[in-house]
């Protein structure tokens, strides 16, 4: 019951957060020079045509007026329309968001098992050969730029071996899994090391606690002590970092989306920024914000569930 109240409270807080996000985005977009109309009509259009269209889209109004118009429509559930495509922003988001969400969830699914396995393995044999290898590979995965690695993966797994498609999203669910495998894999390659390193450090830290002695005195094997005592006590920092990374993945997916020609939010966002398609940027940011709020909330609830000392 308390939890429900907490959730409701947090969701209520989402309102100012969303407002803040929209204000900042709007201000920044307004402050960024570059004319959407110029990009829209192409290089050959005359100044008069551009002025006309600017006027038609209300882009010549003062920023504040534009913002309030936007806000008014937003409250009515209208995210506005893309300047470039003249389709509702909500349609663009409905088209791109599931792709990225799928990608992020897929990445998470590919990421978590190795993170846990490797961190535990490495911590339990601290400084052993396995630990050294894991750490070295981790740094390797971390230091290799995603776009470069992604390119190699595409060439190798996609072209040379022909195991996976190198582009697109596919039409059916199994298709999605197949198409997004390489993008998700390329992303996990750098996410896994970050989390492994954090988790490993925490595991080592917890291994020195007194309650570990209690476990040993009970005759529990190393494995069990790890599983039921050390591990739960170590996950909090990793979980928090994980939340931040997941949230970043949404917006940061642009790199793999570009390399693998995946029609997702990251690409929509960057394309819209480059085209100064204000309302799409706005709408996409709000959707990111909402997702972030949910991810953070989930992690906070999970933290409180794991650690009773953490009151949400």
């Amino acid at each position: 019951m308390d939890t429900l109240r907490y959730i409701a409270y947090r969701l209520l807080q989402a309102v100012p957060v969303l407002l803040g996000v929209s204000i900042i985005t709007f201000t920044l977009m307004a402050a960024t020079p570059g004319d959407p109309v110029r990009l829209l009509v192409g290089d050959r259009a005359s100044a008069e045509t551009i002025a006309l269209i600017r006027d038609r889209y209300g882009l010549d109004e003062p920023v504040l007026v534009q913002y309030f118009t936007y806000l008014k429509n937003l409250l009515a559930g209208d995210l506005g329309a893309s300047l470039r495509y003249r389709v509702p922003v909500s349609q663009l988001i409905a088209q791109h968001y599931p792709v990225t969400l799928f990608l992020v969830v897929y990445t998470v699914v590919l990421t978590l098992p190795p993170v846990i396995a490797l961190a535990v393995w490495s911590a339990r044999r601290q400084n052993g050969p396995a630990d050294q290898v894991i750490r070295l590979l981790g740094v390797l995965g971390l230091a290799v730029p995603v776009f470069w690695l992604a390119l190699l993966f595409a060439r190798f797994f996609g072209v040379t071996l022909g195991w996976f498609p190198v582009s697109g999203f596919g039409d059916t669910l199994p298709d999605h899994f197949l198409h997004l495998f390489l993008p998700a894999l390329s992303t996990s390659i750098w996410v896994v090391p970050i989390l492994v390193r954090t988790l490993r450090a925490a595991l080592l830290e917890e291994m020195g606690r007194d309650y570990v002695l209690t476990g040993q005195s009970k005759g529990l094997g190393d494995r069990q002590i790890f599983r039921s005592h050390i591990f739960p006590n170590s996950v909090l920092p990793t979980l928090n970092l994980f939340a931040v990374i997941v949230a970043y993945l949404l917006g940061g997916s642009v790199i793999v989306e570009t390399v693998y020609a995946v029609p997702g939010m990251g690409k929509l966002m960057v394309d819209s920024i480059l085209a100064r398609d204000y309302f799409v940027v706005q709408g996409a940011t709000l959707v990111f914000a909402l997702t972030t709020i949910f991810v953070m909330l989930a992690v906070d609830l999970l933290s409180a569930l794991i650690d009773p000392r953490v009151t949400p």
Binding site: D35, G42, G158, V159, A261, L274
Partner: protein
Amino acid sequence: QDAIRIASPNKVTVLDPIVSAAGGNIEAYGQLYARLLRRGADGALEPGLAESWEISEDGLTYTFEMRDAKFSDGSPITAEDAAFSLTRVAKDEASAYPAGFAPIKEVTAVDEDTLQITLEHPSAPMLSNLEIFNAGIVSKDDVDARGVEGAFASDPVTSGPYMVEDWKPNDRITLTANPNFWREGLPKIQKVELIEVSDDNARATMAMAGEIDVNRSVPWAQVEEVNATEGVSVALEPSTVMYLVLPNHDKAPFDDLNVRKAAAMALDRAAITEAVTRGNAEVANSTFSNALNYHDASLQPPAYDPAAARKLLEDNGLTGTEINMMITPSFEQLATLLKAQWDAVGFKTTVERVDAGLWWSKLAEGDYQVTVNWYYNETEDPDLAVRWALCDTCGSDSYYTNYHNEEVNRLTDEALRELDDDKRAELYSRIQQITLDELAQIPLYYAPFSIAYADRVKGLTLTPALQWTLEEAELTAD
């Protein structure tokens, strides 16, 4: 599989042919909207929706006889529709590129099948201009019924070989054959997917993996490699594209002819061309593309002579002049070469990289010193090119370089009205001479299109006017 998949870095953003003159749209408009005339395989103008035409003695009245064709929705394509469409492109305020139709006084439907265009003054390239991408015929009834926004939103009534099956903005547009297309039995390919893939490598990989049939733009660095790939070959197709250095004539230091001259002489344009295009392009010799009519092959810009360039700067006390070169990300390699060569003769160059959005607005506002870019021309007639790049009173301030020369402006108009071929050649030669002498721009190279086709694609090319010849292309079973 009977769909042809074409990946291009350019995206489709609007389906209304008059609204945009951006690359991706131009390529799509051609498939959706047929024009009065069309280009044959050899590039000559042939009857399109107009079966025949007549031009009055004074060159002011064009009369077209329309053929019995239908829109994709089955309704007949009438002179009324043609008049409506051409009036829009010529006169509508929102028309993005009306330059070629400026001489038009009026377009009227004389009867169901007869269309008449009257001009203010003679225009030599009028016919060829009527073939370009934004002169496509749209359905008046449909626009009347659904309004401009509605008619072109996602499923316009089309007159061309294809119609829209599904449009996913920012991703791909899927076209399907128009059953009512006037050319019997065409198109042969039932389905076309125009996919936007911005990353060069992604397109290359997709082509190698057989996920696309056509790669619209193969980076020079990969031409050889892709060509060597089994099942794919790269075609270098003629284009009117030329790459050039754009100096701002309104701003120091490039308002000074000496600076422009030194900058031009500092550049080993042959080496630059070789380095950037891996030998796939031709060094430019004129302010005109070599694919344009009346291109003067005898001209030459100042030759590569770094010593002379340095001396010129020294003599004029210009050594150490600071240059700010604004570029978009795709010009990094070129910018590096220019900077190195300019600095070698005594300039001090900084490279400022901006995104395309910023680049355009800075360019249009004249807020730059020098930049590099390319442009293409829709027809082989140089009129539009001159208006775009060299004439400052023709609407675009000489490609926003603010290059101003009264004589060039005058010659531009004269050449438009002149119907005699030889005389026009002379006029355009003169324009090239002047603009090269004054270094309105520093021409770099003439680049062909480099397009990769899967072997199963037959008969497909991209015309210099940026139109795919999809209606006659075929997919063979491989």
